[in-house]
């Protein structure tokens, strides 16, 4: 194989699985170490740099980092990364003086952001400090978008939302509430230099089966959650059926329990394992005695005397093939389940009735605008999309990343530069050696199991709709959990010229990830390693030929626990532990070196 080029930032980035898995590339191990050192404010700011809403995401993030976490490969459960994010947010001091601020003088460029959700707010966060005049247009009477209307208060308290959104609005952002945009054409006619669309995917999917329009007790999930959030709806019947088993369904069933229901069933068409909801959201719902019924396919609403009395389902049976694919299923019977209300939570669509089709924006077969995945710009120059409105429903952390990328594009566009020509990721490596056997980080493997989140008592939590169920980690839990992190960003860096092939590193490695062997092609090499290297998604490190024998050092990065023992046992310093900092560019990094961030306004 060709010797691995470790100067390519992407190589070490990929070793940091959590950061690689995070759409916004949050430097997870770095902030976990800050928590370990008790510096919660620094941990919060490290988070904020990439994900902008640590307090919010520390509660409700989809956590793509956790399935990616290497800890889950050497033992059962990954590090509770998301909970630790909340620890940083909960325990931070006043960080307002560390926040970016708008300069006193604007740069003369005006940007309109449509929708006050996480995508637009991220764009504002990145552009306002550069001197842009940012205006946010929001149709509702409040900010936050789906974060506020669709995530129930018992999961995400409004105070947390207000605080973190406030940080951004305080950067001289002009917020226009109750200001729906009815025509993009009209907005484009105004004197904005760029327009960003962050309007989400606001249309809940309907279920067109008999009886759908014969009762007013059938609700569209996301609309219903919004009405509950704004207190337009304050109660629901005793028996509620939730159709669908995604995360919105979980929010619907748990909300029902808090406004009058006592018998809530979630109706799933397919068996477990094919649910869309995150495992932890399912757990939380089931803890509240929500029943999940599988293999029930909705057939019709049962209406008697104009009143909804139940719902008829087809009972399904499925075959799953050896690749885990499920067939369309066969109907084995029918069943009526009585109920007072039905909430439909079967997905959501984008909807752009307010974008004219003749203004140079191309729409695809699904009636969604065609958006460039790198630049976030559509076919019409100067119009950018992000969040669910760009590529359909994803999640908050993706919306934030879209916002960062759109902000870079908007900046480049407004400066008259090509939006496609973007800064690459950078890499900084720094040795962490502090002494013969001392490292700047806690290198020993801690065998503790993943901490469990404490919840408010099952009776207590239903008393009010806004009692936050998760209590957050205790100090002891946080102190233990941070030690579970394997510090994957502290890389094993090898210098082939120094190696005397004494085998010390091979012998000490607890997970057998090192091998010295004859060079070969990757498929062949993988069969000749000290232990099976079966995860082909994780690259092999291959050194240049070693000085004594010409063999190569091969490292399977897959299971390395970054314990530093290879570097401690190396007599020549051929192995070193070096922290890799992936330098992810943001809009502010586009400023030329001789033009630092504009000075903050004195009054802001």
């Amino acid at each position: 194989m060709k010797p691995t080029d470790t100067t390519d930032p992407e190589y070490f980035h990929k070793v940091v699985d959590c950061q690689w898995g995070c759409p916004a590339h949050t430097d997870v191990p770095a902030y976990i170490r800050m928590i370990a050192q008790g510096d919660f404010s620094a941990a919060y700011m490290e988070n904020r740099k990439s994900n902008v809403f640590p307090g919010i995401l520390g509660r409700v993030c989809d956590r793509p980092c956790e399935p990616a976490c290497r800890r889950g490969r050497v033992e059962e459960k990954p590090v509770a990364i998301c909970r630790l994010k909340r620890v940083a947010a909960d325990h931070r001091d006043d960080i307002s003086d560390q926040l970016p601020q708008a300069p006193e003088v604007s740069n003369g460029k005006k940007v309109a952001l449509i929708g006050a959700g996480c995508a637009s707010l991220t764009v504002a966060n990145d552009l306002a400090p550069l001197g842009y005049e940012v205006t946010i247009f929001e149709a509702l009477q409040t900010t936050g978008g789906l974060m506020r209307t669709n995530i129930p208060q018992f999961r995400l308290p409004p105070k947390v939302l207000d605080e973190e959104i406030g940080y951004i609005l305080d950067m001289n952002v002009d917020l226009k509430l109750n200001h729906p945009i009815g025509s993009l054409k009209a907005l484009l006619a105004e004197d904005y230099d760029a327009v960003f669309v962050g309007t989400g995917a606001p249309r809940g999917k309907n279920l067109e089966i008999p009886g759908r329009y014969d009762s007013d007790r059938i609700h569209i999930g996301i609309d219903w959650l919004e009405s509950v959030a704004f207190e337009h709806i304050k109660e629901i019947g005793k028996r509620v059926l939730i159709i669908g088993v995604g995360n919105t369904a979980m929010d619907c069933c748990r909300t029902s329990l808090r406004i009058g229901a006592d018998d809530v069933k979630v109706m799933a068409r397919k068996p477990r394992g094919f649910f869309k909801a995150s495992e932890w959201e399912l757990e939380d719902a089931e803890e509240e005695n929500v029943e999940i019924l599988i293999n029930h396919s909705p057939k019709e609403f049962v209406i008697e005397d104009g009143k909804l009395i139940g719902m008829k389902f087809e009972l399904m049976e499925y075959n799953v093939d050896e690749n885990g694919r499920i067939d369309r299923g066969t109907v084995t019977g029918e069943k009526i389940i009585p109920c007072d209300d039905v909430v439909l939570a079967i997905g959501q669509d984008n909807a752009f009735p307010w974008i004219e089709r003749d203004i140079g924006i191309e729409f695809n077969d699904w009636d969604c605008p065609v958006v460039n995945e790198t630049t976030m710009m559509c076919d019409r120059d100067g119009v950018f999309f992000g969040g669910d409105s760009a590529f359909g429903p994803k999640n908050i952390i993706w919306a934030v990343e879209h916002g960062h990328q759109a902000a870079i594009s908007i900046h480049r566009y407004c400066q008259g530069e090509s939006v496609a020509d973007r800064l690459p990721n950078g890499l900084n490596l720094a040795s962490q050696k502090m002494g013969m056997h001392e490292w700047s980080f806690s290198n020993d493997y801690d065998g503790s199991e993943r901490g469990l989140m404490a919840h408010v008592d099952l009776k207590e939590r239903f008393k009010k709709i806004d009692i936050e169920v998760e209590l957050g980690f205790t100090a002891e839990q946080a102190a233990r959990e941070v030690e579970r992190c394997l510090n994957c960003d502290i890389q094993t860096v090898f210098t082939a010229d120094l190696c005397i092939e004494c085998d010390a590193c091979l012998d000490i490695c607890p997970v057998n990830c090192l091998t010295i062997t004859q060079d070969g092609e990757e498929d062949d090499l993988r069969t000749r390693l000290a232990a099976p290297a079966e995860n082909h998604d994780q690259a092999l490190y291959v050194s240049a030929g070693l000085p004594h024998t010409g063999r190569v050092m091969v490292k399977d990065e897959d299971l390395c626990v970054h314990c530093s023992l290879c570097a401690e046992r190396c007599p020549t310093g051929a192995w070193d532990m070096q922290k890799s900092k992936i330098l992810v560019p943001y809009a502010k990094d586009e400023l030329p070196d001789d033009q630092p961030l504009p000075a903050a306004g004195s009054g802001s």
Binding site: H437, E438, C502, D507, I508, V511, P571, T572
Partner: protein, 351 residues
């Protein structure tokens, strides 16, 4: 040494032996030797060999004397028996232990100082008695524990870190063992586990005295230019004569060998050693020709390695003494100690 011990976490795909144990279960405490010491690699090879053989840890006895080498039994198979004896006295202590319990597998780990200087008499007589044991010499040519003075195995002309080159004849443990009639003699290198692990397996399973002399560089005092026991020098002058594969009684010979290049040899316990003949002219059953070959290669500056001599026919200590099959440790007390009346009777026979 390191401040942390080797983490207990392991690769989920680690193979298991016939006892259901992984190689991790055969480890000991973390080494306190210098980073890069050849002895640590020998330790790793011993762990691998004992793991692959599926020896029950409580049926293994690890014996040693004094020196860097003699510290190493601490670093493998924690769950086994062990005896750390006086300097150079490992062979006699092992002889005693083996006399008392012939059912255990004995591995003695010694060094060039422990075996070729202070304990050379003990070494010689353990061979003479053909004690059933695997005798490992971790040979680095210096006294590492006392700051690197030349040992009895230092080659003429080998340079120390500071001071004059050695000018005394070295004692070669392999030639010595050959002349004394040891029945399994091998030499290897700590940096070549592919060769070393099968040699150790054969030695552990051989009936009788099995010597494995291992060039094991002292990374602190004898790994510089001019040393003849450094990693670089050993690699440069390393000469394979006969490598082996060790195949356990129940296993079939799976590897493909080119015709005429491999010779299977059945061992006393029913296992097989397949000789992979690197040098076809070498005859490992003839002491005379082995001796001549070794001298010739030595004079050419080469380090001859592999299985260099094998004799499965010679009786080991218990057979020579006509001892009972049952380990003495398991005989009933009455049988072992017939009482003072019987002792008087015995003594009367000599009056």
């Amino acid at each position: 040494m390191s401040y942390i011990s080797k983490p207990k976490v392991s690769h989920p795909g680690l193979p298991k032996n016939k006892l259901g144990l992984t190689s991790r279960d055969y480890e000991g405490s973390v080494s306190t030797l210098c980073a890069g010491c050849g002895h640590d690699s020998v330790t790793a090879a011993i762990i691998q060999a004992v793991f692959e053989l599926g020896i029950e840890p409580h049926m293994l006895a690890k014996m040693s004397g004094i020196g860097c080498s003699s510290k190493t039994p601490t670093y493998f198979v924690s769950q086994s028996h062990g005896f750390n004896s006086v300097h150079g006295r490992m062979p006699s202590v092992t002889t005693g232990a083996n006399a008392a319990n012939r059912d255990l597998t004995y591995i003695g780990v010694s060094g060039d100082g422990d075996s070729l200087s202070i304990g050379v008499g003990q070494f010689v007589h353990a061979i003479r008695r053909n004690v059933n044991m695997c005798y490992v010499i971790e040979n680095n040519g210096v006294y590492g524990l006392t700051k690197g003075q030349f040992s009895a195995s230092a080659d003429i002309g080998s340079k120390p870190k500071k001071g004059d080159a050695n000018n005394q004849e070295p004692i070669d443990p392999v030639s010595t063992a050959l002349s004394l009639g040891a029945t399994y003699i091998a030499r290897s290198f700590s940096g070549d586990k592919q060769q070393l692990v099968p040699l150790l397996k054969g030695a552990l399973m051989h009936r009788g005295f099995a010597l494995v002399d291992i060039v094991s560089p002292c990374v602190t005092f004898n790994d510089h230019e001019g040393s003849t026991k450094s990693y670089a020098h050993t690699r440069q002058f390393y000469h394979h004569v006969i490598d082996i594969d060790y195949i356990q009684p129940a296993d079939e010979i799976k590897a493909a060998y080119a015709e005429g290049e491999a010779m299977p040899l059945e061992m006393h316990d029913g296992s097989t050693i397949v000789l992979r003949k690197v040098d076809k002219d070498y005859d490992l059953t003839s002491r005379a020709s082995a001796f001549g070959y070794l001298r010739e290669r030595f004079n050419a500056g080469e380090i001859t390695t592999g299985l260099l001599y094998l004799d499965e026919s010679r009786a080991e200590m218990h057979e020579l003494s006509g001892n009972v099959e049952t380990p003495l440790s398991q005989l009933p007390f009455d049988g072992l100690n017939p009482g003072s009346a019987e002792l008087k009777k015995l003594q009367n026979r000599y009056r």
